[in-house]
Amino acid sequence: MSTTANDRPAMGLRTGDAPVSAPPSAGAKKLGGAVGWVDDRLGPAKGVNYLMKKVFPDHWSFMLGEIAMYSMIICLLTGVFLTFWFVPSAGHTVYDGSYVPLQGVGMSEAYASALNISFDIKGGLLIRQMHHWAALMFIVALSAHMLRVFFTGAFRKPRELNWIIGCLLSMLALVEGFAGYSLPDDLLSGTGLRAAEGFMQSAPVIGSYLAYAVFDGPFPGEAIIPRLYSVHVLLLPAILVGLFTAHIVMVAVQKHTQYPGPGRTNNNVVGFPVMPVYAAKAGGFFFIVFGFIALISAIVQINAIWVYGPYDPSPVTAGSQPDWYMLWADGALRLLPGWLEFSAFGYTLSLNVAIGALGLIPVVYGAMAAYPFLEAWVTGDKREHHLLDRPRNQPTRTAIGVAAIAFYLVLALAGSNDILAIKLHMSINDITYFFRAATFLLPIVAFWATRRICLSLQRADRNLVLHGRESGRIVQTAEGRFFEVHEPLDEYTRWKLVGFEGQEPLQLTAGTDAHGVASPAAGKDKLRARLSRLYFQDTVQPVTPAELEAAHHDGHAHEAIEGGSAAELEAGSSSGHH
C-alpha cells in the first residue's frame, strides 16, 4: 500500500475524488441526523417539499372524507389488537369465564373468546367497542362524504375514476362490516349468518351449491367462522387499503376541488399549504376522531354480545336486526311480496329473496358508479371541472340525489317495520303496505319537490342580486309613500350568487343527416336530446350585468339610488382585470 505525500484525515477525499462542492448553507446544515441520513440515500426531500407546499381548500364538508379515512385507520389498529385474543373457531367449548350467567354453557370458541375479550381482558371491552364504533363511524362518514361528492358534482371529469373507487370502497365497507359483525358468533350474529345462507340458496340454479361451498356443507358448519375471519382481517382490509391508497393518490394528483367563490376559478386552488396549517388541522383532526371514538366507547355500550347467548338455530330472536347500514337491504327483504317466488317444472325461483338479498346492492352500486357517465351523456359536458356546484344550481341532479335518499330511507325504515308498528301502535300489515307504495312514490315526490325547491332558491338568489338586501330602513318619499331601502350586494357576495355557468340543453340535429336521410343513431340522439331537455327544464340562468343594470332603472329605481347604479356597474366590470 502506498500513501500519498500529504496526509489527510480518514474522512477526506481519496485521490481522484471530486472535491466537495460549496459548503452547505445554513438551511441544509440543519438537515443532519437521521433525516439527512435518509436523504443521502433516497433523496426524498424534493418530493416531500412538494407535498408539504401543496395547497388544500378548506371547507367543513371536506372533513367527511377525512373522518372516514381516520375511522378506517382506527378499525385497522383496534382490529389488530382484537386478533391477539379472538379465536376464530367454531369448535365447541364450555364457558368458564367470569360472566356468571353463561358459566357452564356450551358455545363456540369464537363466542367464548369474544366474551373473554369483553370480561376478562383488561381494556379488551374498550378495544372491542372502539372497533365497532369506528366501524359505524367509518360507514356513516363515508356515506356522508359520498353525498357531498354527489351533490356538489365533484364526480365530474376528471374525477369519474375516483368516484368509482369510492363506490367500491363503500360497498366493500358494508361487506367488511357484515363479516365482522358475524365473527363473535352470538345469537344475533348467527341469525344474520342464517339469513345470509338463505340468501345464497336463493341464487338461481347454483343456490344450494353456493351455500354448501361457502359454509363447507350444511349450515352452520365449522368453516364459516374461520373463513369469514380471513376475509375480515386479511382479504377485505387489503383491498380496502389498496383502493383507499389509490383514492388518496388521485386526490393529490388531481388536486382537491373547491367551492366557487371570489378568487376561486377552475384553474386554481385556493387554500392552505400542508405545512404547517393542514398538517396541524388534519393531524389534529385524526386525534379528535380517535379521541371521540374512545370517549363514546367508554360511555355507550355497543353490541352487548353476552345478552342473547351463543348461536343456536332455534331460539326466538325477536327484534332481530342487523347493524344499521344493512337495514335497507333487510327492509327490501321485508317489503318484497311472497308471490315473487315461482315454481315450475320442479324448479323454484325465489325472486322474493334474490332481488333484495343478491340483486339490490350490486344494482344500486352499479347505478351509482354509472351516474357520472350518464349525466355527462345527457348534458354533453366533456370539460374538466374543478369548481364545485352549489346543489341548487343543478336542480335535476340534486333532485335525483334526494330521490335516491328517499328510496334508501324508505327501505331502511321498512327494516324496522316491526319496531315502528309497536311504537306507532299501528298494524304491521298497514305499515308494510304503506312502505311498499312509498318505495315507488316517495322518490318521485322527493324528486319533484327538490327540483321545485332548487329552482325557487335560484330565483331567490337572482332576486337578491337584482334588488339587493333589505336594510330594515324605512324611508318616506316626497309623495308620502313608504318603502324599505334595499342595499346592493358587494361584489364578493354577489359573485357567490352569480358565479356559475348558465345552462342549455343539448342541441342535436333532428335525427337526420345532412341529406335529410334518417341516420342510424337517430333514435338514440332523439332520446338524448329529450333527456337533455328534461334535465335542463326551467333552468334558471345567473344574473347578467345587463339585467342588473336594467333592474336599477325599472320601478325599483329608488332602491338603486343608494348604491349608485353607475358606480356598481363599473365595479362589476373593472374588477375583472386583475
Binding site: S202, Y212, I288, L295, A298, P313, A318, P545, E549
Partner: protein, 378 residues
C-alpha cells in the same frame, strides 16, 4: 381573466352579433377578498391567550393519559360503578376510555386551535394544470408501445400471439378450479332431508330409523305424552337422539349427537301446538292439517320458509305464527299458509302419531325440504 366584450372587430361569418351596449355578458370574478386579521394577529395579549389555551389542551391530554394508566392498574375488570344517566358500568372500561379519549382529544383540539389562532390564515393560490399529457407525450407513448410490439415481433409471429393469448387466458384456471372445487361438498339431496328421516351418517345423509322417532322437548329432551299436551300449549320439539336424554334406556339416545347438532337442529326444529279441533278452518289445508296431526295436536317446521330464521312467536288467540326476522305470518288453522309477509310457502308439516305408550312420534319425515327455497327443491 378578462370579460368577453372587449374585442373591437366582429366576425360577420358567425351569424348575428347582438350589441351589448358596452355591458359585459357575464359578471367577472372579483378575485380574493381582502384578508381580515384575527385578534391574535393584532394583539400580543390575544396571541398569548391563544398560546395558553393550546397549552391547556395539551396538558389535558397528558392528564388523560395519566388517568388511563392509573385506572389500568387500580381497577380489575370485575369492578362496577353506577354512573348517573348511564347506569351500572364496568369501571375499568369507563375510566380507560375516558382517559384515552381525553389523551387523544387534548392533542387534537390543541393542534386545531393552534392552527386556527396562531398559524398563518392567509389563503395561498396554486395554479392547476390540465390533467391530460401533452400531445407530444401521448404520441411518444404510442410510439414506445408500438415499438415494443414491433421489436418483440409480436405482430409478425401469429403463432406466438395465439399461444400466448391462450396461455394467459388459461393460467388462472388451476387456482379457480382448486377454489371452487374444494370449498365445500356437493349438497346432493341433503337439504331435503332432516333428522326426522333417520340418524345422521356423518356425511350429510341419513340412515333410516327402524322405529319412528319420538318427539322430544328442547332443551330437556323428554318425550311428550299426547295426553299432556293441553289445548293452547306450544312446545319446542326435536327428534329424539339429537340432544342427550339422560333418562333414555338406549345408549345412543342417552348421549345424543356428538357432532353436528347445530346443523341437525337447524333443519329438524319443530313447533308443536294443540288447537281445539273446531279452530281449524274448513278448507283443504285445514283438513289436511288435522289429518296429519293427532286430536288437534299439530307439528310444523320451525325454520321459516323465507330465509330460515326460527319462527318465534305464536299468537294463541289467532293461531298465527310470526317470524321475527321479516314478519312472515303463518296461519296454523289453515296448514300454516302464509297470510302476510315475504315468505311464499307454508311451513312444512310433520305428520305425527302416538306410540303404544302414548308418546308422540313422527309418523313420517317431512315431505319436502324445510327452510329457505332453493332452485332444485321443486
Amino acid at each position: 381573466m378578462s370579460t368577453e366584450h372587449s374585442t373591437d372587430t366582429v366576425r360577420l361569418d358567425e351569424g348575428h352579433h347582438v350589441g351589448d351596449g358596452g355591458i359585459p355578458a357575464q359578471f367577472a370574478n372579483p378575485g380574493l377578498p381582502p384578508h381580515v386579521h384575527r385578534m391574535a394577529d393584532e394583539s400580543e395579549a390575544a396571541a398569548k391567550r391563544a398560546e395558553r389555551q393550546v397549552a391547556g389542551l395539551f396538558t389535558l391530554s397528558i392528564l388523560g393519559t395519566v388517568l388511563f394508566l392509573i385506572a389500568y392498574f387500580a381497577f380489575d375488570t370485575a369492578h362496577r360503578t353506577w354512573v348517573p344517566g348511564i347506569g351500572t358500568v364496568s369501571t375499568s372500561n369507563l375510566l380507560l376510555g375516558v382517559g384515552m379519549g381525553l389523551g387523544l382529544l387534548g392533542i387534537g383540539l390543541g393542534a386545531v386551535h393552534w392552527a386556527k389562532t396562531l398559524m398563518p390564515d392567509e389563503e395561498v393560490v396554486e395554479e392547476r394544470h390540465a390533467m391530460r399529457s401533452s400531445d407530444a407525450a401521448r404520441g411518444e407513448f404510442v410510439e414506445i408501445m408500438r415499438g415494443g410490439g414491433e421489436k418483440s415481433q409480436l405482430f409478425r409471429r401469429p403463432l406466438i400471439k395465439a399461444t400466448l393469448g391462450g396461455a394467459l387466458g388459461l393460467f388462472s384456471l388451476p387456482l379457480l378450479v382448486q377454489l371452487v372445487g374444494s370449498l365445500g361438498p356437493l349438497p346432493k339431496n341433503h337439504l331435503s332431508l332432516t333428522m326426522w328421516n333417520g340418524t345422521p351418517d356423518g356425511e350429510g345423509g341419513y340412515t333410516a330409523y327402524t322405529a319412528r322417532p319420538r318427539l322430544v322437548t328442547d332443551p330437556e329432551s323428554l318425550p311428550i305424552k299426547a295426553s299432556d299436551v293441553t289445548i293452547g300449549s306450544v312446545y319446542h320439539v326435536l327428534p329424539e337422539g339429537l340432544l342427550p336424554s339422560p333418562e333414555a334406556e338406549d345408549e345412543h339416545l342417552r348421549e345424543g349427537l356428538h357432532h353436528g347438532f347445530l346443523e341437525e337442529k337447524g333443519k329438524a326444529a319443530v313447533l308443536l301446538m294443540r288447537l281445539d279441533p273446531k279452530d281449524f278452518q274448513d278448507t283443504p289445508g285445514g283438513k289436511k292439517a288435522q289429518e296429519w296431526g293427532y286430536q288437534g295436536i299439530v307439528a310444523y317446521s320451525k325454520i321459516c320458509t323465507h330465509v330460515g330464521c326460527p319462527v318465534g312467536l305464536y299468537e294463541r288467540t289467532t293461531h298465527h305464527l310470526l317470524c321475527p326476522c321479516h314478519q312472515s305470518t303463518f296461519d296454523v288453522t289453515d296448514d300454516c299458509r302464509v297470510i302476510f309477509g315475504p315468505a311464499k310457502r307454508p311451513l312444512p308439516q310433520l305428520k305425527i302419531a302416538v306410540d303404544d305408550e302414548g308418546y308422540l312420534i313422527a309418523a313420517e319425515p317431512f315431505h319436502e325440504a324445510v327452510g329457505p327455497s332453493f332452485w332444485e327443491r321443486g
